[in-house]
């Protein structure tokens, strides 16, 4: 066991940032946040450097090892998510900071910064946890922070969305906790690494997996348990929506993937995997259809998240009971899909926020004429849309290509149909927005102009979603370190 010093700092720094942010006067919070960002980057880069130099790292907090203590595990997957979190969070923070500079400070928006830092701490603790109970605590911390962020504006709509989100999150984490109780009773261990051998393949492990999966898909908003997501993501502030869609829903999916790979194949059966895949297909179709029908811009983007989550669940049927090659392709494709969706969707939410700010109305119909006044934000929206549709050379395209190959390789051609129809539906809703923007409807020649930094943050995220398609090989090679699919395998 190597003792890697920087690893716990991934959680300590944002936690410290959150505490400090609460304590300092409100007008310093933005500056404090921007000052902690470079520290976050230093720690992230140091940990990535350690991974490159020494491979997978295990850190026992306080020197207490597995059964009693809390262990942090930094493999390629975990650190890939950490790096993604730092990148997306930084750009969202820049967006929020320049918005605050523009609007001045008002009321409870001041709590935005402490909550944002808590969100990063919770996310990092989930990525790095190696035992199922610590994952539960991370999940709860994440859920409570996210609900706080949704409720932040204090409007009736936001409060109702937050309450609905909280009820779903609480029910989801209780289901997960019951699963933890059953697994601990069956095996006497909480470590993820022990689950496969200790929990065995008995009925207890199956019930536990069913409960945990149910709780986690409720939190991931997989169709048909997605009803809480659109109002929560569509009604929040733009940087909050971006973080929720890009990272928060991925956290519960990440736990599900970890669990699924850790448990015995007799427990995580092909039938259950196919059910998850079918729900994912339902999400792609229903989410895409509902996105196309929305009249509010941010709700359209939120329903698009419901659809895109569906693709990620195709991972389960493609990896369970198939050949190593098909499994490896599905692993790469799913992770690339996750990364490119995180970048593109964060970019799209920030761009949508800018457009809403510019037109002073949440409706898509009011976009008419905006193409001449806010071309940069509209361009970012379209660029992110290209990645969501899966056109080359975006990250979304490469991801879908890998998933498609995996489906053909394992002889499950029906998932290919889902990928293609899903792409067409995404094209339909993205072009709906663009069509309204280029229509010269009622002659309107005044739009508010958001600060340049807000437009550039959206553009940077959308461009990163595009770029990850061109340079997919190196992040994917990194994320295979320590995975069941090995390096280059």
């Amino acid at each position: 066991m190597s003792v890697a010093l920087p690893l716990p700092w991934l959680i300590v720094v944002p936690l410290g940032g959150a505490m400090a942010s609460f304590l300092v006067p409100e007008r310093w919070r933005v500056r404090l946040g921007l000052a902690v960002l470079p520290v976050m980057w230093l720690v992230t880069l140091a940990v990535l450097g350690d991974l490159a130099a020494h491979g997978v790292q295990v850190h026992a907090l306080g020197g207490w090892s597995a059964p009693l203590g809390i262990t942090l595990l930094a493999d390629g997957l975990a650190l890939g998510m950490v790096a993604l979190t730092t990148l997306v969070f930084s750009l969202c923070a820049v967006h929020a900071a320049s918005h605050a500079a523009e609007k001045g400070h008002n009321g409870e928006i001041g709590f935005l910064w402490p909550l944002l830092w808590f969100l990063v701490a919770a996310l990092n603790s989930i990525w790095l946890s190696a035992d199922i109970f610590n994952l539960y605590v991370g999940l709860e911390l994440l859920g409570l922070t996210a609900v706080g962020l949704v409720a932040l504006t204090g409007s009736a709509e936001a409060l109702a969305a937050a309450m609905r989100y909280l009820l779903a999150a609480l029910l989801g984490s209780l289901c997960y906790l019951l699963g933890v109780a059953l697994l601990y009773a069956a095996g006497g261990s909480l470590a993820l690494g022990d689950l496969g051998t200790i929990a065995g393949s008995g009925a207890t492990a199956r019930v536990a997996l069913a409960l945990m999966t149910l709780g986690l898909i409720l939190k991931t908003a997989l169709f048909p348990l997605h009803a809480w997501l659109p109002p929560a993501h569509g009604g929040a502030l733009a940087p909050v929506s971006a973080l929720l869609s890009a990272l928060v829903v991925k956290a519960s999916l990440y736990i599900l993937i970890r669990l699924w790979l850790a448990l015995d194949p007799d427990v995580a059966t092909a039938a259950a995997a196919n059910l998850l895949g079918a729900l994912g297909a339902g999400a792609v179709l229903w989410g895409g259809w509902m996105a196309w029908r929305q009249t509010k811009l941010k709700y359209l983007v939120a329903y698009s998240t419901v659809a895109q989550i569906g693709y990620l669940f195709l991972f389960f049927p493609l990896v369970t009971g198939t050949s190593t090659i098909a499994g490896g392709l599905a692993w790469d494709g799913t992770l690339l899909m996750l990364i490119s969706h995180a970048l593109a969707k964060a970019g799209m939410f920030l761009a949508a926020g800018n457009l809403v700010l510019a037109m002073g109305s949440p409706l898509i119909a009011d976009l008419s004429g905006i193409s001449r006044f806010r071309p940069l934000s509209l361009f970012s929206f379209g660029l992110a849309g290209v990645s969501l549709m899966g056109l080359p050379p975006s990250g979304g395209f490469t991801a879908k290509w890998l998933l498609l190959q995996s489906a053909l390789h394992s002889g499950q051609w029906w998932w290919v149909v889902v990928l293609i129809v899903g792409g067409l539906l995404s094209a339909a809703y993205v072009f709906k927005v663009l069509r309204h923007s280029f229509v010269e409807g009622p002659k309107r020649d005044h739009f508010n102009s958001p600060p340049m930094a807000m437009e550039l943050a959206a553009l940077a995220l959308a461009a990163a979603g595009m770029g990850v398609g061109l340079a997919a090989q190196s992040p994917l090679t990194w994320m295979r370190i320590g995975s069941p699919f090995g390096v280059g395998g």
């Binding site: 109970f133 309450m163 909280l166 009820l167 019951l178 059953l182």
Partner: protein, 98 residues
């Protein structure tokens, strides 16, 4: 049946009652109380099932302590949002349930 297993079964009953209330009731306060009952039930399962036939075990006790802290925090947050929602809208149910 050992006493530990008995507690686990009581936990299962509490969980079922809580879930029933959570799904059945529309009033947010009742749903919150139902959630708390469900939480207590799952804590009893966690402690009872793990100690059945294996004697006292400190790990589940520590887990439940953590779980109680989490449950109190979530209940507090839910109460704040509930009160604020009541003040803004005058309703004690979610808009789709009214």
């Amino acid at each position: 049946m050992s006493s530990a297993l008995f507690y686990a079964w009581v936990g299962v009953v509490l969980c079922g009652l809580g879930l029933f209330g959570f799904i059945l009731h529309r009033h947010l306060m009742r749903r919150l109380l139902a959630f708390n009952i469900m939480g207590s039930g799952s804590f009893m399962i966690l402690v009872g099932l793990a100690q059945d036939g294996r004697g006292a075990d400190p790990v589940p006790q520590a887990l439940v302590l953590t779980g109680i802290v989490v449950a109190v925090a979530s209940t507090a947050l839910a109460l704040v949002i509930l009160r604020r929602w009541y003040r803004v809208s005058g309703e004690s149910r979610l808009p789709e349930d009214v």
